[in-house]
Structure formats: C-alpha cells, structure tokens
Amino acid sequence: MPHFERLYNFACWLTHDRQEAEDLVQETYAKALKGFSSFRPGTNFRAWIYKILRNTFLTSRTGLQATSTVPLDFEGEEEVLPAVKETPESILLRRSDGQLVQQALEQLPVIYREVLLLCEVEEMSYQEISTVLAIPMGTVMSRLSRARKSLGEGLRQEFQKG
C-alpha cells in the first residue's frame, strides 16, 4: 500500500493516539480509493494522499481541538539567530538524547509539528509541503522557521529543567 508506514507514523504524530491514527489511515485509504479518479496522473501522488490524510484529521474531533488555538503565521522578516557555538540544543544533540527531541516535538503546536515532520522526516520539498498544507510557499518557509525556533526553545527548556 502506498506510503502505508509513513502515513501511519505521521497520523500518530498528529493524533497522539494509536487507535485514532489507525482510524485516520483507514479513512484516508478509503477516501483515496473512492476519489482515485480525481488524482491526475503525472502529479505528485504522495502530496495528494498526505493532503487527504491531513484534511481528514482537520475535520476530526481531535483535529478541530488541536487547531482551535494555533499561533499566527507572521510573514514579516525573520529574526536572524546569533551564531552561538555551544547552545543547549547542541549539547542535547551531542548527548544523542532522542527522547528529549521527541518530547519537544510532541509539545509543539500541531501546525509547527506537521510542517517540521513533512520537511525533516518525509523530506518533502517546499512545493510538496505547500500542496499538502494548502498554503503558499512563503508561508511554508516562515512557518518552518518558526517551528524550528519553537523546537529550539522547547529543547532549551528541557535542558534548563535537567
């Protein structure tokens, strides 16, 4: 089945619940099969099926709750991060503490979590992400930038706790 394992992983990250993720994936395949005629050969199949999954999530109860309060995307100039050689993030990463990165990802608002996962885990291009999330390329870039910054702040907080 196309992208089965990756769709399931993405669904788990969106829902935070394995049962809900299974329902979401099942519904996605059912919708994909039903609407396969709407898929235009030559276009990006992966972006198409991820878009179905994501839209299905947004209309679910969990999706509606998760997106009821979301940070705004500002399209203004991004703040340039200073060049710091040793940051809490770099110390944590050097320790290879994957669990802390997972926790920081979990705590991100869903709109930041999904854009980071599509870019880093699914290795999608900005164009593909733009299709899946139905947002302009400029918003993909600013949202990614904010997501990365937010993840860094999350890691920094974990580091201060430790």
Binding site: M1, P2, H3, F4, E5, R6, Y8, N9, C12, W13, R18, A21, E22, V25, Q26, Y29, A30, A32, L33, F36, F45, R46, E78, V80, L81, A83, K85, T87, E89, S90, L93, R94, G98, V101, Q102, L105, L116, L117, C119, E120, V121, E123, S125, Y126, M141, L144, S145, R148, L151, G152
Partner: protein, 249 residues
C-alpha cells in the same frame, strides 16, 4: 555583519531550496566562513535529530492486514463497478509497491551518505582530526590493528598528487571503521572503510554527491569492504584517489 544575511537563508540552503546559483555561492561562503560552517553543522545535526526522533511509530501487523483487506474488498454493487474498484486497487497496489521499493532504499541510502558527509565535516572541524599522524602508509595501516575487525590496504602515493595526513577510528551506525584523511592541492579528502555486511543498508556502486550537501563522493564495494571517498575536491580528484584504493585492494 555580512554573515547575518547568509545566516538568514541558512535553513533554506540546508533544505536544498535556494536557486542553483545561490546554492553555489552559499557553498563557497560556507567553506570559507568558520562561523557559518559551524552554524550549518549544528543545524544539520538538529535536522538529523528530528528525522530520527520523528520516525517513531510503526503499524502493527494486524492493522496492516486490516487495511490490505479493506483496500481489496470494496463492496461490489455491480460487476462493472466492482471491476473498476478492483482495477483501481490494483493500480494503487502497483504504485505502492514501486514507491515503497523506491522509498525503502532511498532514505536508508541517503541517510548513510549524509552521515558520511557529517563525519567528514565534523572531523575537519575538529582541532585534532586524526589520531595517528603520519604520511607513511606503513605507519598508519598497522595503527588500526586490533582497533577494527578487518584489514585493508593503503595505496602507494608516489607519483601522485595526494598525500596521506593520517587516520582515526570512526563509527557508522555503531559499526567500527577506518577514517583516513588525504590532502590534494589544499583540499582535504576523507576515505572511510567499513565492513559491507555491517552497514544498515545496501548501496549501489557509483559516483554521486550526497543530496543537498556540496561534496563529491564515490563509493564501492571490494573484498567485502565498503569504501567511501568524499571531499570538496573535484570529481576527477575523488575518482583518482578511488582508483588508487581499488588498485591497492
């Protein structure tokens, strides 16, 4: 101050999303700017950490079976409609097999190449890149005895432009290996040697550049060992060093 304008685009550069010409200018800048290269390395490490942490959930066998059955067994209202569903399912399954075969090898392969590139960059950024410092292959080769679970030959460099800087032990996916550093016209080239069967993924034997990273690389398998030659030297230099290794093995 000049670096601030580069740093604002560093993530876009590392995502491989800048126009080709800008990517090339960025490559040149990152190579020459210690601050930007250190920042780039930190951000690549963060990208890798997110990638590893993000691949977390695996579907159970029962759920997989359930989905397979639901995809194949759709309600058949008529022979014609049923045939259309079956044909669509078949198309989706074929596309799935092809894409999962492609995606199944691609991330593993890309990840190995990215890790090799990271090892190369991180070593060169270190204040002590090699543990055994010698231009003599007869000094460097024995140094690895008892440190790695295999032996390999180093090429004779007389009449070539290459010079041996030294070597160190390294690890790729918890597999021990040898890391050798060579110089050619002020460029540093890394040669990595691992046992083929210990590597996490099968690799093809051809020249390539790791995705989104500005290096030339060549990899091949010989005598049960997997070799990687990587550096910012020209593709022909990488090829020449690779040929010397192939001839020596």
């Amino acid at each position: 101050m000049v670096c601030e304008s580069w740093k604002a685009k560093l993530d876009t550069y590392l995502d491989g999303e800048l126009p080709d010409e800008e990517m090339r200018s960025f490559d040149a800048h990152v190579r020459s700017c210690q601050s930007c290269s250190a920042d780039a390395l930190a951000r690549v490490q963060m990208k890798r950490a997110i990638q590893v942490a993000g691949r977390r959930f695996v579907p159970g066998a029962e759920f997989r079976k359930k989905i397979q059955q639901s995809v194949v067994r759709k309600p058949q209202r008529s022979f014609r409609l049923g045939w259309m569903f079956a044909a669509t399912a078949a198309v989706v399954l074929v596309v799935g097999m092809l894409t999962s075969a492609y995606l199944g090898t691609r991330p593993g392969r890309d990840q190995v190449f990215s890790e090799i590139a990271d090892l190369h960059v991180a070593t060169l950024a270190s204040s002590s890149p090699v543990d055994v410092i010698s231009t003599d292959r007869h000094t460097v080769k024995p140094w690895f005895q008892g440190k790695i679970p295999f032996a390999f030959n180093l090429p004779e460099l007389q009449n070539s432009e290459f010079s041996l800087v030294g070597g160190r032990m390294t690890y790729l996916d918890q597999t021990p290996g040898a890391h050798l550093i060579y110089d050619v016209r002020k460029h540093h080239i890394s040669v990595f040697v691992f046992q083929e069967r210990s590597l996490p993924t099968r690799l093809d034997d051809h020249s390539l550049s790791p995705r989104k990273l500005p290096f030339n690389m060549q990899t091949w398998s010989q005598g049960g060992l997997r070799y990687f030659v990587i550096g910012d030297a020209s593709a022909s230099d990488i090829d020449s060093l690779a040929k010397l290794f192939k001839a020596a093995s």
